[in-house]
């Protein structure tokens, strides 16, 4: 039986100073198979994959590729042996074009060691075509979207004739439609006999694309299941090790009558057109749409980082003209960016400083900052932020806890409008549920929340209303009673015919 495996990792153990990162974990992969690898953050998924990729050696255990035992000295050797690891943070150089990236480090040459640019361009064009990408090989990688980058990375793996492709959270920053393209490609790879290890936090995707799932928890193998024979609840239980609330159901809403934020006839940049909507106190308003539909730009235009060309915004009835984040914050508007690592955190500052920073900037004297510690501690307890102490540098926290710390920052600074972009990107399932609960809890404080998300189930779970954007306009609006996945998806994909009257009075 075992000779059928494309890859076998047997009883792999790995110790890091003070931590047993992996404890006798085994994993195997057949040709033409997609194997899901799931587990909460810190379960050991990346450690296992890094060992496979030769980043560091295992303390114990065997790796068998194509029937022979191997031990790679580094990613390059792994690559030569047919293993391609597509990192979440893609390994492409923005300053180089697609062709140069595809051939980086193994350029084709002609006479006198000169580069054979023509041939490389031709091959690049061919492999882009295989990915159904209609892009010029000379396009600078820095200017293409994440999906295209993802597909370029896969092309690279295929060019290296990789037989085992590891994809680490490939969909975490893709929208539904982009994910579909990717899944189409994965199906193709399967028919070519490739084995794919698919790491994802999105359980729905695991069910959609994988044949078997391997579950890790705290560095231990919990089990490998055939995807068809397992259930959502079972997987979540295996991952978290306890009976957790698997899904979030909103029991009731806290909407008050007062209108908190009113946007009318808003135009912004070259994208946003004629945006009208109102946000009430205690309301969670979702914004759905494909990438490029203007979702993010809408949030940023309210926060003052995207240029508004026309229109009016009122906060609590008062006119507000967004010009800078500072002004927005003074008016009580906070923004949780989708890129929390770069735009939301001061990674080298400790937890306390990260939470206090806006409040300190706004209205307390520097001599009084220390006195805030008890408040911050209380907030940390309330929000259930798992941190050893206030003094730990925030980059050491997990994704979910980082996100909660940013929320704490805004709560402390008494914000009343929260603009949230992709609140649960890259966060594991149980933290996601906690985040949903937290957002719901915030509405009790009369905070109004606007959530942008490319995960429709998420919006369906937490929102009171969902606006659907399409090509920079609001295409449709659904109240909670009308929520229906299919109709919302349809509105995301196609311009809907709304009667003029309804359009003009806004949402």
């Amino acid at each position: 039986m075992s000779e059928n495996y494309l890859l076998e990792m047997k009883n792999i153990s790995k110790n890091f100073p003070g931590v047993k990162a992996l404890d006798e974990v085994s994993l195997n992969l057949y040709p033409s198979e997609v194997l899901g690898l799931v587990g909460e953050n810190g379960a050991g998924k990346s450690t296992l994959m890094n060992i496979l990729n030769g980043v560091f050696p295992p303390d114990e255990g065997q790796i068998i590729v194509d029937g022979r035992e191997v031990r790679f000295s580094g990613p390059l050797e792994a690559q030569r042996n047919g293993i391609a690891y597509i990192h979440q943070e893609l390994n492409l150089i923005d300053e180089l074009n697609i062709r140069e990236n595809l051939f980086l480090g193994r350029e084709l040459k002609k006479k006198f060691k000169l580069l054979d640019i023509k041939k490389m361009r031709e091959q690049t064009r061919l492999s882009l075509k295989k990915m159904q990408l209609d892009v010029d090989p000379e396009t600078l990688v820095g200017s293409v979207s994440l999906t295209i980058k993802q597909l370029i990375e896969i092309s690279k793996a295929l060019m290296l004739s990789a037989s085992i492709i590891v994809m680490d959270e490939p969909t975490s920053s893709l929208t539904d439609e982009e994910t579909e393209i990717l899944f189409g490609i994965i199906e193709q790879l399967k028919t070519q006999g490739k084995g794919i290890i698919f790491i994802s936090h999105r359980i729905e995707e695991i069910f959609f694309i994988t044949d078997r799932v391997t579950v890790l928890r705290n560095g231990k193998l919990i089990g490998t299941k055939s995807t068809k024979e397992t259930t959502y609840d079972e997987l979540v239980e295996m991952m978290s090790g306890k009976e957790v609330e698997k899904r979030f159901f909103k029991e009731s809403s806290n909407i008050k009558e007062e209108i908190l934020l009113e946007v009318s006839n808003l135009y912004g940049g070259e994208i946003l057109q004629d945006i009208n909507f109102k946000l009430k106190k205690g309301e969670i308003l979702g914004i759905a749409g494909l990438s490029g539909s203007g979702r993010t730009e809408l949030l940023e235009s309210i926060f003052g980082t995207f240029k508004v060309t026309k229109g009016e915004i009122r906060i609590n009835g008062n006119k507000y003209r967004p010009t800078s984040p500072k002004k927005a914050i003074n008016k009580g508007i906070a923004y949780l960016s989708e890129d929390r690592e770069n735009k939301g955190l001061f990674p080298d500052f400790n937890v306390f400083k990260n939470i206090i920073v806006t409040k300190a900037e706004k209205d307390i004297k520097s001599s009084k900052v220390k006195k805030m510690k008890p408040y911050v501690n209380e907030l940390i307890n309330q929000l259930n932020i798992a941190t050893p102490s206030l003094e730990v540098e925030i980059r050491n926290l997990s994704g979910g806890n980082k996100q909660k710390a940013i929320l704490a920052r805004w709560i402390l600074a008494r914000m009343n409008v929260l603009l949230v972009n992709e609140p649960t990107r890259g966060i594991d399932v149980s933290s996601k549920i906690e985040m949903y609960k937290l957002l719901y809890k915030l509405t009790k404080r009369e905070i109004g929340i606007i959530v942008v998300s490319s995960e429709l189930p998420e919006l369906l779970a937490i929102c009171d209303r969902i606006l659907v954007m399409y090509e920079g306009r609001i295409n449709a609006c659904f109240d909670r009673e009308e929520f229906n996945k299919e109709t919302i998806l349809k509105a995301m994909w196609k311009k809907s015919e709304l009667p003029e009257k309804e359009k003009s009075h806004g949402y």
């Binding site: 990613p75 390059l76 690559q79 390994n91 492409l92 150089i93 923005d94 300053e95 180089l96 074009n97 140069e100 980086l104 480090g105 193994r106 350029e107 040459k109 060691k113 000169l114 580069l115 640019i117 892009v135 010029d136 000379e138 396009t139 600078l140 820095g142 200017s143 293409v144 979207s145 999906t147 295209i148 982009e178 070259e270 994208i271 990438s291 490029g292």
Partner: protein, 314 residues
């Protein structure tokens, strides 16, 4: 995906700069009869090579997000050895001296690269240190301008083809072509851009980034030593401070050309425009009798404008 604009490398900036150069030439030709004289043309052709060599080398270094402050000292060293080792004036001693100069420059470039690549030290500090050391050695060998370069040596650079084009300018054309090919048609050249774009990712793609960096500093030193040879041939003597101004001038030419300190963007086409602009401006200001002090102020301002321009283009 629709809104994003897919970018390819373009020459728009380059065209703009050449247009700027054309305007300078046009205006100067109208206002100055000296400018359009044959003597001044020869003068300009003479002035381009020393700045050009050192700036081409500097470009490679800056492309990798580094900087080489030791080029001036290498140039001075080059003039000093030329002026003190060729006293018999025979071809053999010329050959030996040039060989020695190239060897020393490569050695210092190697040291620069070694410290920067292997010990991950700041290029600014490392090259400043080697520069200071080399300057000390220079002053020790030749404390004041002097020595003598024989005609066997100077003719190698100053002989004029058709009585107009100095040999050094021909070398410049050849070297420019060679470095252009190196940057665009060899993997070494592409890897320079990759290292400048993202060193870690370049390493993960299997590029030996240390080798690239060491190579780049060695080439920069080599180019600087060539600049020194041209200077020595022009002065017929050596000068321990001959290269001093060229460190900043070379960086200025690179920046004006449009290669930025962000790395991975720009190239020697760009630097070429920087070299021409700098040379023309110096030439014109000299023709109009503007004091060197004002010239320094102007050079500084131009660098500042170039930096502002590239910052706004980000």
């Amino acid at each position: 995906m629709g809104i994003r604009i897919l970018k390819v490398r373009t020459n728009k900036d380059l065209v703009f700069r050449f247009f700027f150069i054309a305007v300078i030439i046009l205006i100067s030709s109208i206002f100055s009869t000296h400018f359009r004289s044959q003597a001044n043309l020869i003068n300009i052709l003479n002035q381009i090579p020393p700045l050009a060599f050192v700036a081409i080398g500097q470009t490679l270094v800056i492309l990798t997000t580094g900087i080489d402050l030791s080029v001036g000292a290498i140039m001075s060293m080059s003039t000093i050895i030329s002026a003190s080792m060729m006293e018999y004036g025979d071809m053999l001693s010329v050959f030996y001296s040039v060989f020695l100069i190239i060897f020393i420059s490569l050695f210092f470039g190697f040291i620069n690269g070694l410290f920067i690549a292997k010990l991950k030290m700041e290029p600014l500090i490392v090259t400043l240190a080697t520069s200071t050391i080399l300057n000390g050695i220079n002053l020790f060998i030749l404390p004041y301008p002097g020595g003598y370069c024989p005609s066997n040596f100077t003719n190698l650079f100053s002989y004029k083809i058709f009585d107009i084009m100095p040999l050094s300018f021909l070398y410049f054309l050849v070297i420019f072509l060679v470095f252009y090919m190196l940057l665009h048609y060899t993997s070494f050249g592409r890897h320079i851009y990759a290292v400048g774009g993202n060193e870690r990712k370049a390493g993960l793609a299997g590029i030996k980034t240390d080798k690239i960096k060491i190579g780049v500093y060695m080439l920069s030193s080599l180019c600087a030593s060539l600049s020194g040879l041209v200077l020595a041939a022009r002065m017929h003597s050596g000068d321990p401070t001959a290269g001093e101004d060229f460190t900043l001038m070379s960086i200025a030419a690179v920046l004006i050309g449009g290669t930025t300190f962000n790395g991975g963007e720009g190239g020697i086409n760009q630097t070429l425009t920087g070299i021409i602009i700098m040379t023309l401006l110096t030439n014109i200001l000299n023709l109009f009798g503007v004091s060197p002090f004002y010239q320094n102020i102007l050079t500084g301002l131009i660098v500042l404008v170039a930096a502002i321009y590239s910052a706004f283009n980000q």
